[in-house]
Structures are given as structure tokens and as C-alpha cells.
């Protein structure tokens, strides 16, 4: 066919094996499940997809034929089906799952939406025009093929599905997904609402097909035909949703936050070396004001800071010092804040032992803090050894903080947050105020009903990375570029990266938790940040719109007291 020649012409190495025959097979296929076999060329297991075909009995022959075509013409498939595959994968959610094998093959198919696979499209400008033509051509044909497909499919699938009992009861997959999402600290309401939206509608209004359709139609920037196609599929989506597990949900999540044709064209930019002193000067005017704070934040996002600069820049990133302040103003603030700190510190230091005897909460907090500071980063030279002064400073700052913010007090994990700050600032009062600023950002995470979340935030923030990387990661987050909610995208990026494994092994909750715990120290920071950036860009305005106002680190929307008084939290 014409398009086949066109591709062959642009990209002979990849596409020269294209054959009209396979085009025809694909186009004439009434069965959208061809996409499964396509997916095998995107790196998925063939065996299981074949298994799923076999299970569908009467169509075995026809599908077998297609599959054979696929086997013989891999080049053709990659070329023809890159976009159709994506469309069809989406479509495949509408396919009734006859058995487990079919389900898991749906998931595998879905998982081929992963960025790394789509990225080559954006690799070089010279490919771009080719790619775009592929996009367009394929889309047209996909639309045709898919329309046929969905028509055929709904006819065919209608009966078996309706006759089949739906699992209405406990769905471990759903449980699992919620847990995973929580664990990865899609830490805020955002995550909770998104998941409950996803799973809630699955449960409550039966299947939420109409809701889904709305999302799909509004969010996917595709020609009419394809949105018709998608709409068709969402009519059936209840079926798949019923047994759809985590993967589908995550894919849905991605798709629902942005048009997925962007997905293939966006990739986080290469990371830069850390910002050093010489370059830092260029961001300052003669009196020390940051002339373009956005440029600075952007620079920090892409490269982080040299260790020697952290001391100066962290206070700015955290909002303790304003970007508009001059050197002199910062010095002045520093001295004012120092005496303010001393006053608060003196409040607990002046508690006599007889007073402490009658002050249980103080004793308890003090005890906890003392227990924790000796267990915080003690392997670092800065904190190691008996009678280390820095450990005492950690304790003093935390106790002072528990008086500064008495409602919140002390919560395990704070020492982990403070430790790098003290290390960097190397000044008790400065470290305290930077810590205060950080806690303001994290603040709402500390409300009682979100205990699980804040602990997860800690886990993500620190435990998962080495010390230096932790500091790098933090300053990148604090840069609030490209989104102040970048941490959410980071979580998703991590999940995405391991999706294949998590889903492939059908991990149960225990295994999953263990797996995630063991990721600790194995996360490639730069790669994850690039993924997160790409996700953030893909999600675009839709992504922003879905993060409810007041999600940390945004300021809380509700007025009243910042922290809810909780009697049983120390």
C-alpha cells in the first residue's frame, strides 16, 4: 500500500519488510485484540497473548492467521501499529476478560504505554517529520480498523459478557492498587481522590462508564473518529474494569490527566551539572537580590546545587528568605531570627525538674526526641561518635520546634528531615528556621488522618536515597519547577518505572510492600526526575486541575487552626 512505501522510503531499515498483506490483515481485522500481538513487539511476552487467543475458541483460526502475519513481519508491525497499538490498547480495556490470561495480557498491552518505549519518537528532529507522518497515517488507518474492530467486537462480545457473572465482591486488585498508591505517597488528597474516583466509580455507580467517557473525550486530543472509537470502547469498559487490575488503572490515570499523543513526544530534558558559585553570581544583582527567581528555580530543578552553595540557597528555596531580599536584609533577618530562636529555646530550657515532673507531654516528647536523634544518620561523620555535639543540636532544634509549634509537637521522622538541613546550614538558628519553613510546606500532611501519608512522604524523601542524593532531590523539589507538586509526579514516575515488574509478577500486597521497600537506594534519581518532568508536562493543565487546592505544599484552603489539636499524638 501507499503508506507502506512511504515508510519504506523514509526509513528503509526498519520498514522495508512491510507488506501489503499484513496491512490488510490488520485493517480488516474485526478483532481489536490484534493489539496484543502487536504489543509483543513492544517488548511483551508473546506466549501469554497467544494463550489468551486460544482461550477465545471459535476465532482462533482468524486470529491465528493474524498472529502469523505478525510473526513474519515485525518491521511492519512496528511501523503500522505504533499508534494504533496505543489506541487499541486503550480499546482493549473494553474487551471482556474471559480468563486470567486474557486479563494479564490486557495489562501487558496497556503497560506498553510506558514512556521509554514511546520516546524514540522524539529522539531527533530528523525523525520527527517521519514520525509525524507515521502518526497521521497510522491514526487514519487505525481509526478505520479500530472502528471496524470495535463494531465487530461489541457484537461478538456482547453475549459472553452479559452471560458472565461479574465479580462484585472483594477485588484484591483494587485493594492492591489503593495500597500501592498510598505506599508511594501519592501522598495527598490528590492521590486519595484520584484513586477513590477511579475505584469509587467502579464500585458505586456500577462501572462509571459515563464518567470515564467524559474524561476520555475531553482529554484525548484526537480526531473525531478516534474519540468515537474510544467512546465505543468505554461502553464496554465496565466489563474490563471489573477485573481490570492495577495496570489498567494506572494507565487510565495517565491518560486521564493528559492527551497521550503528547506522551510520545515529551521527554524530560537531560540533567545539568549542579549550579556552582560562578554561575550563581549571575542570578544576583549587585545588592544580592535574585533578579529572576524563576530562572533560578528552573536552573536548580535541572541540576541542583553545588554543596558549597546549598548553605546560601536553601533558605531562599524554602522561602525563609525572600528572593527580593538583599544581602544586608538577609543578614539582618538572620540576626533577628537568631534571637527569636533563643527565646523559644529558652522556654523549654527553663523548665525545672520539678516542673517537668508535672508536665507529662514535655517529658514524653523529650524522651522520644532523645531516643530518635541518637538513631538519626549516625553513620555520617557529621553525626557519628559518642557525645557528638551535632546530635545535641538536633535534639535542641526539635525540642524547640515542639514549643514553636506545640500543637504539632514532635513526630518520628522529623529528625530525618532536619538532619540534612542542619548539616547544610551548620548553624543552629538558621537550621531551625529552614526546618520551620520546610514544615510549613509539609504541614497539612501532619494532620492526624494523614499519618500514613506523612510517614510515606518521609520514606520517599529520605530513606530511598543516599544522603547527597537526598539533598539533591530536596532542592529540586523545593525549586517548585515545573510544578510545586512535582513530588506527586515523582511518585508516579517511580511506579511507572517498575510497573512491568510489579504487574508481571502479580505481586500481592506483602510482596509489593517488600519490593518497594527494597527499592531503597536503587532509585536512579536523574532518570526518575526526567520521567517526572515528562509526566508533569504531559499532564499539563489537566494535571494541575486535578490537584485539589490546598494540597501541600500549597497553602491550606481551610482557615482555622493550621494543625488540628490531637491529644494522643505526642
Amino acid at each position: 500500500m501507499i503508506c507502506g512505501d512511504k515508510f519504506a522510503c523514509h526509513c528503509p531499515n526498519i520498514f522495508s519488510h512491510a507488506s501489503n498483506h499484513s496491512h490488510f490483515s490488520f485493517l480488516s481485522s474485526p478483532d481489536p485484540r490484534t493489539s496484543h500481538s502487536n504489543s509483543s513487539f513492544l517488548g511483551h511476552e508473546r506466549g501469554s497473548s497467544e494463550g489468551s487467543y486460544r482461550s477465545s475458541g471459535s476465532r482462533e483460526k482468524r486470529i491465528g492467521y493474524l498472529t502469523t502475519g505478525v510473526v513474519q513481519k515485525p518491521g511492519c508491525l512496528i511501523k503500522d501499529l505504533l499508534i494504533p497499538t496505543i489506541l487499541l490498547q486503550w480499546r482493549s480495556q473494553g474487551i471482556p476478560c474471559y480468563n486470567k490470561a486474557t486479563c494479564s495480557s490486557c495489562e501487558r498491552t496497556l503497560s506498553s504505554l510506558e514512556l521509554p518505549r514511546a520516546v524514540p519518537l522524539a529522539c531527533g528532529p530528523s525523525n520527527m517529520s517521519v514520525d509525524e507522518s507515521i502518526l497521521n497515517e497510522n491514526q487514519e488507518r487505525a481509526d478505520n480498523g479500530v472502528n471496524n474492530g470495535s463494531y465487530g467486537a461489541s457484537q461478538f462480545h456482547g453475549r459472553p459478557f452479559h452471560g458472565r457473572p461479574r465479580h462484585k465482591g472483594h477485588d484484591p486488585g483494587r485493594d492492591l492498587s489503593i495500597q500501592v498508591l498510598e505506599k508511594f505517597s501519592l501522598v495527598t488528597k490528590f492521590a486519595r481522590e484520584t484513586t477513590s474516583q477511579l475505584f469509587g466509580e467502579n464500585q458505586s455507580n456500577g462501572f462509571g462508564a459515563s464518567e470515564r467517557r467524559t474524561h476520555i473525550q475531553t482529554n484525548i486530543d484526537h480526531p473525531k473518529k478516534s474519540s468515537n472509537m474510544v467512546e465505543d470502547s468505554s461502553d464496554e469498559s465496565p466489563v474490563a474494569l471489573d477485573s481490570q487490575e492495577f495496570g489498567g488503572m494506572m494507565v487510565y490515570f495517565f491518560i486521564s490527566i493528559g492527551p497521550f499523543d503528547n506522551l510520545s513526544l515529551v521527554w524530560g530534558k537531560p540533567r545539568q551539572p549542579p549550579l556552582g558559585s560562578e554561575e550563581w553570581i549571575t542570578f544576583l544583582d549587585s545588592e544580592g537580590r535574585i533578579t529572576d527567581s524563576e530562572a533560578l528555580r528552573k536552573r536548580v530543578f535541572y541540576g541542583g546545587l553545588d554543596n558549597e552553595l546549598r548553605n546560601e540557597v536553601w533558605g531562599l528555596l524554602l522561602g525563609y528568605y525572600s528572593y527580593e531580599s538583599t544581602y544586608a536584609e538577609r543578614e539582618y533577618l538572620k540576626s533577628v531570627k537568631k534571637s527569636e530562636y533563643e527565646i523559644i529555646k529558652n522556654q523549654w530550657q527553663s523548665i525545672s525538674s520539678s516542673q517537668a515532673k508535672r508536665f507529662t507531654k514535655f517529658r514524653e516528647r523529650k524522651g522520644l526526641i532523645e531516643k530518635d536523634v541518637v538513631r538519626t544518620d549516625r553513620s555520617l561523620p557529621f553525626y557519628e561518635g559518642d557525645d557528638n555535639q551535632n546530635v545535641y543540636v538536633l535534639r535542641d532544634i526539635l525540642l524547640t520546634y515542639s514549643f514553636y509549634n506545640f500543637d504539632l509537637g514532635y513526630c518520628q521522622g522529623m529528625s530525618d528531615l532536619l538532619s540534612p538541613i542542619l548539616f547544610v546550614m551548620d548553624d543552629e538558628s538558621e537550621a531551625f528556621w529552614c526546618f520551620v519553613a520546610l514544615m510549613e510546606r509539609l504541614g497539612p500532611n501532619f494532620n492526624r488522618d494523614q499519618n500514613g501519608m506523612h510517614s510515606q512522604l518521609f520514606a520517599l524523601s529520605k530513606v530511598e536515597f543516599e544522603y547527597e542524593k537526598t539533598m539533591r532531590f530536596w532542592e529540586v523539589l523545593w525549586a517548585h519547577y515545573p510544578s510545586e507538586h512535582l513530588h506527586l509526579y515523582v511518585c508516579v514516575a517511580i511506579l511507572k518505572r517498575y510497573r512491568g515488574k510489579i504487574m508481571g509478577e502479580e505481586m500481592d500486597f506483602d510482596t509489593l510492600l517488600k519490593f518497594i521497600n527494597e527499592l531503597s537506594g536503587h532509585i536512579e534519581l536523574d532518570a526518575i526526575l526526567r520521567d517526572a518532568e515528562a509526566l508533569c508536562i504531559c499532564a499539563g493543565e489537566d494535571g494541575v486541575a486535578r490537584i485539589p487546592p490546598g494540597t501541600p505544599p500549597s497553602l491550606p484552603v481551610d482557615d482555622g487552626s493550621f494543625y488540628v489539636q490531637q491529644d494522643d499524638i505526642l
Binding site: D372, G452, D510, I569
Partner: protein, 211 residues
Amino acid sequence: MSYAYLFKYIIIGDTGVGKSCLLLQFTDKRFQPVHDLTIGVEFGARMITIDNKPIKLQIWDTAGQESFRSITRSYYRGAAGALLVYDITRRETFNHLASWLEDARQHANANMTIMLIGNKCDLAHRRAVSTEEGEQFAKEHGLIFMEASAKTAQNVEEAFIKTAATIYKKIQDGVFDVSNESYGIKVGYGGIPGPSGGRDGPSASAGGCCT
């Protein structure tokens, strides 16, 4: 590695009583005086042998602070055994046992085996809770009891193994349906369910033999 059974354990108790150190002593046979603060949950695993059967213990080590309780609770589900730990040198950690127990009773399966451990028994000179009190509490609440020291390794093996033996006996007695993983027990590939291990297995195979 193949095992006949896998038991899931959970270690609970106040912050700083030595939960992670007990685990480290059991899995790695070493003591780390300065142990990192546990955030969320950590895991450990070790093979032991009971009745000549290899049994794998998968141990979940939790964070002790009150504000993490809401997370800890979700780990009770599907645990076959729990080590409830207090520090014999700190009275308050003993006083909090009742609330830990209440949590466990509420969120774990009713047949979970609970071992009460009075840790840090090497610090006898600073003892604030007598052995008798520990025994008494255990007796009142139907727990197994031991004093142990993660530092000297005294009774550490014993505590983990005795718990496992108790669970194993319950399996033999048919208390658990081992095919139901919510009891925190998995039957491994390498193991053959014991003569009365599990309700379905033996009857089916016995039937096979007889006919």
C-alpha cells in the same frame, strides 16, 4: 530456597524497645548499638527448622511511635505470629502493652500467636519491670513470654523459634486452614503438608490412597 511453610511475623511495641535490634540479631546474628530509626516498616527473613521441616520466617519490623499506629495496623492482617516487645528498663513501655494488645486483637486474625518479649534483660541493674510482672501479664492475656537481650543474643533465637513451634503445632492441630493465606501461613513448594496440616490436603490425599 524451598520451605515447607512460610510464617509471617510482625514485631510490635513502643519506640526504642529494641524491635529492630531483635530482628537484626535473629537474622544476622549481630548487634548494632546505633540502629537507624525505623520509618514505616522493614523486613527480615530467615529459615529455621521445626520437626525437620524447613520453615521460612518473614518478619515485618514496624515503627513504634503512636502516630504510626494507623500504618502498623494494616500490617497485622495476614500475620501468623507477633512479637510484642517492651523494654524492661522502661516502665512505660510495659504499661503500654495493653493498648498494643488491643490493637493486635482488633486487627489481626484471632489465631495469631503472640510472644511477649521483655527486651534488654542484659541491663539488669536498670530493671524497672520484674520478670514476674512480665510472666503475670502474659498469663493473664494468654501470651507466650520470654525475657531476651538483643545485645547478648540471649533468648533471641528461642523467642522466634518458640513462636514458630507454637504456630506449627496449631497447624498440626488443624487450627488453621493453611490454604487461606490470611492466616499468615503459606505452604511452600518444597514442603509436603503434614499429616494433619490443612483441611483440604490430607483428606483429599488420604482419599486417594484408600480408593
